[in-house]
């Protein structure tokens, strides 16, 4: 612990609400500071975006072992392979640990080392000059999600550029857009108590998020619950299912619309719930009039009798059912309507705010309102001072009349960056600032992006490895890894209010800096830092905590704090009465029927669940209600190439981490034996994969675990940066082959694409 934090802890006044709420502070702050060479630091992970709480064990000053944070009861000490490999990334000799300035041609890999002072000054001068000559909007900003995105956003807003992008459009954007349209906000899934779960390739057993993975695994293993999985591949989640339907890629929407057809046809849905809490059922009835089980049979390959049986099974299990929208699943250009159809199916089963169904996450403020006093500490947001400039963006995100109208202006549409640079429309782009995002592996059109990159005047990349995008930078600023960084307090509330915080386990290795300091310093040098109310991360945290030293001390000690109060589902009488017993003030919200229906609010324009959305219909006619179009992902080819996650790697990020690379060094293409035989292919053969967008080589793995008309690769291979010595040139980057046309309304990148395959 550094002295500034120590001083801060001494200097702040205690508010003292926590003691009453069963947080065991144990040692005082001074004890936490002086804990010698061997210690544990409680933090949270960054080997992927799930951000599971962790404990980093330090032995003789060296981070030796990572496990889950025992203070977070949901995951306990669990951590996945990637999370455990955090120490191997930390001590990897291939990390970048000194600022670099390009000396050779862009992308040639020729650099010279520089001091931070020189490198930051160089970036400030370049960015200042470009902003002055071409306007600040000529600088685009991309980031991995979470805190790096926030720090970069603050800087971009300070500079005056509206062109801020996160990884959303190549990942979770569909539900990020469909949720507000349908429910006005996000819902959580109560996997533990569900009796029936329908899963559309939400492969939590390979794309691991421990809090969900653990619950789903235990529910799936129970005898009296059912997990139904629709997926073209026999994935791990399919292997754990009670029933697996190898659906044709891209056609899940037809299956869901057939389910809805059956429920409406037979009047088997929660009519009382639909009447009370939703609008648009008549439009849905019209939309599914012809989407019969028989109709979907030809599209999905699933027997109509199976659809009839499943519709009945789900209805009987309701409301303890979850029809899971997934994270990023079988994407097609109809992805938005697929997700909307799933949301509608849930609403018809009346599972909202029900045990074993879906519920709204409840933060400290919600609980304070319920209990009638400020019992749970709330946070300030010092980032609030930074506003995205109202000037037009290159992708038109959030702008009336744009096809990207519904996309948040802090997240944007990544696929629009390269075309905007190349066409100079709507205006020229001259510079690209990136923090920890590997655009070349994760976004469609590698060749187009490289062409665009070469056209730019200046590229800055903040990174920890010489990743594929970073190798094209003019300046590389080495960020400390998450095990060497202190970061802000994050809200971790789910069914109960909770916070957690990233903390450095060891002092930074080499000459690396925290993202907070990098962007803060850059803004100071450029004299655009008037909105920054902090100089250090400690000051930032102090502002967040509103001077609540007990909250901060608890977070420093345990990395995670939660309040053990009764859980609450507003539409479950037994939960409501238990809650009121503990917090009598909450009785003011209880209805005659014993529920808290007045608290079941939806922040949509109508205040109800919108099965039909007028605002979407007005902006994009025809999209207001579900409709079964744009499901084709074959584009005339016999085969569809799909991609997905492995539990051993994260997107384009971890392939070069030694221990993970040792376990999985390549991602061959899955192909069915009958499909392989037709083409004379066997396991280990080199093949050419091609379509009208690109061609690429790959290795073959013949397996029964996939449909005859489908191919599969784990995403994240095919790296083109020679700085990634262990993985350079190995495997296929399927993003190269993707169709640049993206989904309507949510502008999602479509990760299924038609291809041909032949022996090379």
């Amino acid at each position: 612990m550094d002295s500034s934090r120590r001083n801060f802890l001494k200097g702040t006044a205690g508010i003292g609400t926590l003691a009453a709420l069963e947080i065991n502070l144990g040692a005082n702050a001074a004890d936490i500071i002086n804990n010698g060479g061997d210690k544990s630091v409680f933090s949270f992970c960054e080997m992927c975006s799930s951000r599971c709480p962790i404990e980093a064990k330090i032995v003789d000053g060296k981070c030796k072992f990572i496990q889950g944070n025992k203070h977070y009861s949901t995951t306990g000490t669990s951590v996945c392979a990637r999370g455990g490999a955090g120490v191997n990334q930390l001590y990897d000799k291939q990390r970048i640990v000194k600022p670099l300035i390009r000396v050779g041609e862009r992308g040639s890999g020729k650099w010279r080392k520089a001091s931070w002072e020189e490198a930051l000054k160089y970036c400030a001068d370049k960015l200042g000059e470009i902003a002055k000559t071409h306007g600040p909007e000529s600088v685009v900003f991309t980031a991995k999600s979470s805190e790096s995105h926030k720090q970069m956003t603050n800087f971009a807003c300070s500079l005056g550029s509206p062109n801020i992008f996160s990884h959303w459009s190549c990942c979770p954007i569909t539900y990020q857009v469909a949720f507000p349209h349908t429910f006005g906000g996000s819902l959580s899934r109560d996997y533990s108590k569900a009796k029936y779960i329908v899963n559309f390739g939400h492969n939590l057993f390979e794309g691991i998020d421990i809090k969900y993975t653990k619950k789903l695994a235990k529910t799936a293993a129970k005898e009296d619950t059912k997990l139904l999985v629709l997926e073209p591949r026999f994935s791990v989640v399919a292997a754990k299912a009670d029933e697996w339907l190898p659906v044709k890629p891209g056609t899940d929407l037809a299956f869901v619309m057939a389910l809805i057809h059956v429920w409406i046809r037979d009047s088997k849905y929660d009519k009382k719930f639909v009447e009370e809490y939703t609008i648009g059922i008549d439009e849905v009835k019209k939309a599914v009039k012809d989407t019969t089980p028989k109709w979907q049979e030809k599209i999905t390959g699933i027997k109509s009798t199976d659809v009839e049986r499943i519709a009945d099974e789900i209805y009987k299990a309701a409301p303890k059912v979850i029809i899971d929208w997934g994270h990023k699943t079988t994407t097609t250009r109809a992805e938005y309507q697929r997700t909307r159809a799933i949301f509608i199916a849930n609403a018809l089963m009346g599972n909202i705010e029900k045990e074993g169904g879906l519920y709204f996450g409840k933060k400290a403020k919600t609980f304070n309102d319920l209990v009638g006093e400020e019992l749970f500490p709330t946070l300030n947001d010092p980032n609030k001072a930074f506003k995205v400039p109202k000037t037009p963006r290159i992708d038109g995100a959030g702008e009336k009349g744009s096809k990207n109208y519904f996309i948040a202006r802090k997240h944007g549409v990544l696929m629009d960056i390269a075309p905007a640079i190349l066409n100079e429309k709507p205006y020229p782009v001259k510079a690209w600032v990136n923090t920890r995002f590997n655009h070349l592996i994760n976004v469609v059109g590698e060749e187009t992006t490289i062409k665009a990159i070469k056209k730019l005047d200046f590229i800055l990349s903040v990174d920890i490895y010489m990743n594929d995008f970073t190798q094209f930078a003019d300046v590389v600023l080495p960020e400390s890894t998450y095990l060497e960084r202190d970061e802000s307090i994050q809200d971790k509330s789910g069914s109960l209010p909770a916070y957690y915080m990233r903390q450095k386990a060891i002092e930074p290795i080499g000459d690396t800096k925290n993202g907070y300091d990098i962007f803060r310093e850059l803004a100071r040098i450029m004299k655009i830092d008037q909105n920054y109310t902090w100089n250090t991360i400690d000051e930032f945290r102090m502002q967040q905590a509103k001077g609540n030293d007990k909250l901060l001390a608890a977070l420093i000690k345990d990395g995670y704090v939660e309040w053990k109060v009764p859980k609450l589902y507003y539409r479950e009488k037994k939960y409501v009465s238990k809650f009121v017993e503990k917090f009598p003030h909450a009785s003011t919200f209880v209805d005659e029927n014993g529920e808290m229906s007045s608290k079941v609010k939806f922040k949509t324009p109508s205040g109800k669940i919108e099965l039909f959305s007028q605002q979407v219909e007005e902006a994009l006619p025809g999209e207001g209600c579900i409709h079964p179009a744009n499901m084709d992902v074959y584009d005339g080819h016999e085969l569809c190439l799909m991609s997905g996650k492995t539990p051993i790697h994260t997107n384009g990020h971890t392939q070069n981490v030694k221990v993970l690379n040792d376990m999985m060094s390549e991602s061959p293409i899955w192909i069915n034996p009958r499909t392989a035989q037709k083409r004379g292919l066997k396991t280990g053969d080199r093949v050419l994969v091609e379509n009208k967008f690109a061609k690429s080589y790959a290795k073959v793995m013949v397996t029964e675990g996939i449909r005859e008309d489908s191919l599969f690769v784990y995403h994240g291979f095919g790296h083109i940066s020679s700085g990634l010595k262990r993985t350079y040139g190995v495997g296929l980057n399927q993003s190269k082959l993707l169709n640049p046309a993206y989904g309507a309304v949510c502008s999602t990148m479509v990760t299924n694409v038609g291809v041909d395959i032949k022996k090379a």
């Binding site: 496990q67 996945c80 490999a85 653990k214 695994a217 293993a221 299912a241 009670d242 539990p647």
Partner: protein, 188 residues
């Protein structure tokens, strides 16, 4: 006397290799060799499929062939029945590697000593902790503890499941058991 037993529930195991990474970091395992691996084995013909996740590590035999054949008594059993190796008297003759019916021992490519799973006995269990693999398992597929304590978690798992022991026909009496996978292959 304690009897340490580990149970691997194949229904909960998702083959994510968290155990394997934790094992490597906890025990500083050399590159190229493994104390522990989980093998995925897909069986059947589309769409009649099943994937089994099989743990491969030392099974801690009660009648341990590796201990029997060791000429220097470097391979030995603790009072709790944990099979360990005393590197100071091991001459690396590799007899134990050959004798092990579970293929669980290897020659360390750097130290040339014999390596294998120890249930993390000296580095964790003796200090009251769980083995590294058990600690991190994302789905709690591994249970470890004293089978002679009827209140222990592992005793409860043994009491409520049918436990299989690998190659039990050999009479080696392993203390690593498993709950067999029941999922998949619905068309069978």
């Amino acid at each position: 006397m304690k009897k340490y037993v580990m149970i691997h529930d194949e229904n909960l195991c998702i083959g994510c290799q968290a155990c394997s990474v934790a094992c490597r970091n906890e025990n500083d395992t050399s590159d190229g060799v493994y104390r522990l691996q989980v093998h995925a084995e897909m069986k059947g013909v589309f769409p009649n499929l099943k994937t089994n996740f099989l743990r491969h590590s030392c099974v801690m035999c009660e009648n341990a062939p590796c201990v029997e054949v060791c000429p220097t008594k470097a391979s030995f059993q603790t009072d709790e029945g944990i099979v360990l190796l005393d590197e100071s008297i091991c001459v690396s003759c590799k007899y134990c590697v050959l004798a092990c019916p579970y293929d669980a021992r290897y020659v360390d490519p750097i130290t040339k000593n014999i390596g294998k799973c120890t249930f993390c006995f000296t580095n964790r269990v003796a200090g009251g902790e769980q083995p590294a693999c058990v600690t991190v398992c994302p789905t709690d597929a591994l249970t470890f503890g004293d089978a002679n304590d009827y209140n222990s978690e592992v005793s409860k798992v043994i009491a409520t499941n049918s436990i299989k022991y690998p190659k039990s026909e050999l009479g080696t009496k392993p203390k690593l058991g498993f709950v067999e996978n029941k999922k998949g292959g619905r068309y069978e």
